[in-house]
């Protein structure tokens, strides 16, 4: 599903910043992966490249079999719309739109009719247990509710992967549990899930934990047995 081959990324400037230094990463369909690392390790950059929000310098990136390189803005917007769903730490809901309209937004850019996308948005809100809240605006909702709306929005265009950037960063421990449960339920439907987090408790709930350090992968471990809450990690053979 996701294939990074020797990806390099340098941010130009007075002092060019070499962030990704030959990153190799392979994530298969249905994987449930967390990416950890200190700030400056390159995990945000990696996520941006993953989500076709940013470009890279050398190497190749294939997403769902398509080479993602030197795409026009329009094309990358289309691919984002088609393949990727985002979940952010700060939810990134649009304040002047109610829950339903927020969830329906990706379908608007897909060109789905108003009636149909509202029906679908209601369905996805229902899956998140927020059907009765459809007419509420983001500022009338709790953090957990907002993040569930953001997840519904990420899912509605039926993407192949969900990229979550610190999805629980702004939530308390109880709502964190809730949101992680929702994400793992989504993953069980076969959607590839990549979560960037610095919280070990969050990473623990994923099936595979990747540690980044200084722009390369430091460790890539299967979290086995991930349901049994043991801390045993096994080195994964590089694919």
């Amino acid at each position: 599903m996701i294939h990074f081959e020797n990806i390099h990324k340098t941010y130009p400037g007075a002092q060019p910043l070499h962030v990704l230094k030959g990153l190799d990463l392979h994530i298969e369909q249905g994987d449930y992966v967390s990416i950890m690392g200190a700030s400056g390790s390159g995990k945000s950059t990696m996520l941006n490249i993953l989500g076709i929000l940013d470009d890279y310098d050398t190497g190749t990136y294939h997403l769902d079999g398509k080479l993602i390189k030197d795409l026009s803005e329009t094309r990358s917007a289309q691919l984002r719309n088609e393949l990727v769903g985002f979940v952010f730490q700060s939810f990134n809901l649009i304040n002047f739109k109610n829950a339903l309209e927020n969830v329906a937004l990706p379908l608007y850019y897909k060109g789905v009719s108003r009636k149909k996308r509202h029906a679908m948005a209601l369905e996805y809100l229902d899956r998140m247990g927020l059907k009765d809240w459809w007419h509420h605006y983001p500022n009338e909702l709790s953090g957990g509710q907002k993040q569930r709306i953001a997840i519904a929005r990420a899912l509605i265009a039926q993407p192949k992967i969900i990229l979550a950037d610190e999805p629980t960063g702004a939530l308390d421990s109880i709502t964190t549990e809730e949101v992680m449960q929702v994400l793992s339920d989504v993953n069980k439907e076969g959607i590839t899930m990549v979560i960037v987090t610095h919280e070990a408790s969050v990473a623990e709930k994923t099936k595979r934990i990747i540690h980044l350090k200084d722009g390369i992968i430091e460790s890539d471990l299967f979290n086995i047995p991930f349901n049994l809450q043991t801390s045993a990690h096994h080195e994964v053979s590089r694919v």
Binding site: T74, A77, R80, E82, F86, F88, P106, R153
Partner: protein
């Protein structure tokens, strides 16, 4: 491209509703600009209509010549000789100058005109059919003097409406006989030209007049209309040609041509129109400047809007909004704001002009003999359509710069902007 879809428009209205005060203030600037433009243009037109209505009794391309007295001796003639125009000059002018369209000789006298017990002293003009056309008469009953009348020196007369009313006291004057200095003339037409100033004439055929008043083939004046002269220079030049030609016919010293009287309405008209086109240009300039002030306002607000919505655009981009859709939505918002509010301003402007028009129409009628300086202050449809087009284009320009900025927003950076 889903440029004008219902969805796109609802999105725009929604964002406009987000900031009602700002939308209103922006819109007001545009409304005011277009309002002022319409009012200014309308007033300019009103002034123009008022002034030109004073020309309208005579065709704007007409000239008149008359004999004067020479001031120099020439070819055996003494100085201070009276120059006499005749029917011959009428024919010769018409034949010689292809620019001349309608032409008439004119003689006039005051005579007693009577019908039964009623009588009065009125001006009688002997003219040729071309007179109606050089002077715009309104023959609302019967007909004007025609060529057959002239040829047969018929005793027919066209009375001004007022004279007819005074003499006939409500009887139908057509076909009746009136006496002019004791001779019977049959009334063939009524001239209802709105009488401005004094003295509207009773018209009889030139040949009849020459016979009745024992003038032979003399004519006092010759009037004609000229085609194809559009500039002041061309008019002046043509006047010189006429004088030179008549100077040869009447044996006038080439230095003394000013003894031939010539009045050129066209030159006056062209000059006046020149003043008006200058005023028009000036008014347009001020109007457009006002409008630009409004549009800069729109552009300004759009810049702020884009800045405030940076994060939102970032989110939209991450959800699959293409640069095209972002560009569209901002441009369209700008166009919708300018067009909507511009239209309101335009309606107000036209409304006020209409009110002025109505108010002035209400008190008209009394000012029959007044010089008008203001009439019918309207803007024509072309100007309104032009202004609308201008608004749309201006809206696009006002929106484009901020829109470009919005398109360049990187989703990641935008979403961090909190």
């Amino acid at each position: 491209m889903r440029f004008l879809e219902f969805d796109t428009l609802t999105e725009i209205l929604l964002t406009m509703k987000q900031n009602k005060l700002r939308s209103f203030l922006t819109g007001f600037a545009v409304s005011w600009g277009i309002f002022m433009l319409i009012i200014l243009l309308g007033s300019g037109n009103g002034l123009k209509n008022g002034i030109t209505s004073n020309f309208s009794d005579r065709a704007t391309n007409s000239m008149m010549i008359w004999g004067g007295r020479t001031t120099m001796p020439y070819k055996g003639f003494k100085a201070y000789r009276r120059l006499q125009l005749t029917n011959n000059e009428v024919t010769m002018l018409k034949n010689h100058f292809k620019e001349i369209d309608l032409i008439t000789g004119e003689v006039n006298r005051n005579s007693m005109v009577s019908y039964k017990q009623e009588s009065g002293s009125y001006e009688i003009s002997g003219i040729q059919p071309g007179y109606n056309g050089i002077n715009t008469l309104k023959i609302n009953k019967g007909r004007f003097i025609n060529d057959m009348d002239l040829k047969h020196e018929r005793k027919v007369i066209v009375l001004p409406r007022k004279v007819a009313e005074l003499l006939f006291k409500g009887d139908d004057p057509l076909g009746k006989w009136v006496k002019v200095d004791g001779l019977s003339f049959q009334v063939v037409g009524i001239d209802a030209t709105a009488e401005r100033g004094e003295g509207s004439s009773c018209y009889i055929p030139l040949t009849t007049a020459q016979k009745v008043y024992h003038l032979g083939i003399e004519t006092y004046r010759i009037s004609f209309t000229v085609n194809g002269l559009h500039s002041e220079e061309a008019n002046e030049d043509f006047g010189k040609q006429i004088r030179a030609y008549l100077g040869r016919q009447l044996i006038v010293h080439p230095e003394d041509l000013n003894s031939i009287g010539l009045w050129n309405q066209a030159a006056d008209y062209v000059q006046t129109m020149k003043i008006f086109s200058t005023i028009d240009l000036f008014v347009l300039f001020i109007g457009i400047c006002t409008l630009i002030a409004g549009l800069v306002g729109v552009g300004n607000i759009m810049v702020i809007t884009v800045k405030e919505r940076t994060r939102e655009f970032g989110i939209r981009k991450s959800l699959g909004a293409t640069p095209g859709t972002i560009l569209n939505s901002i441009l369209l918002e700008s166009v919708v704001v300018t067009t909507l509010f511009g239209y309101v301003g335009m309606l107000f402007g036209i409304g006020i002009l209409e009110l002025i028009s109505m108010a002035m129409g209400g008190q008209g009628g009394g000012g029959e003999s007044n010089m008008q300086i203001f009439a019918n202050p309207t803007v024509d449809l072309k100007v309104v359509l032009g202004a609308t087009l201008l608004l749309i284009i201006a809206g696009l320009i006002a929106g484009y710069i901020p829109a470009r900025k919005a398109v360049r927003i990187k989703p990641i950076e935008a979403m961090r902007a909190e």
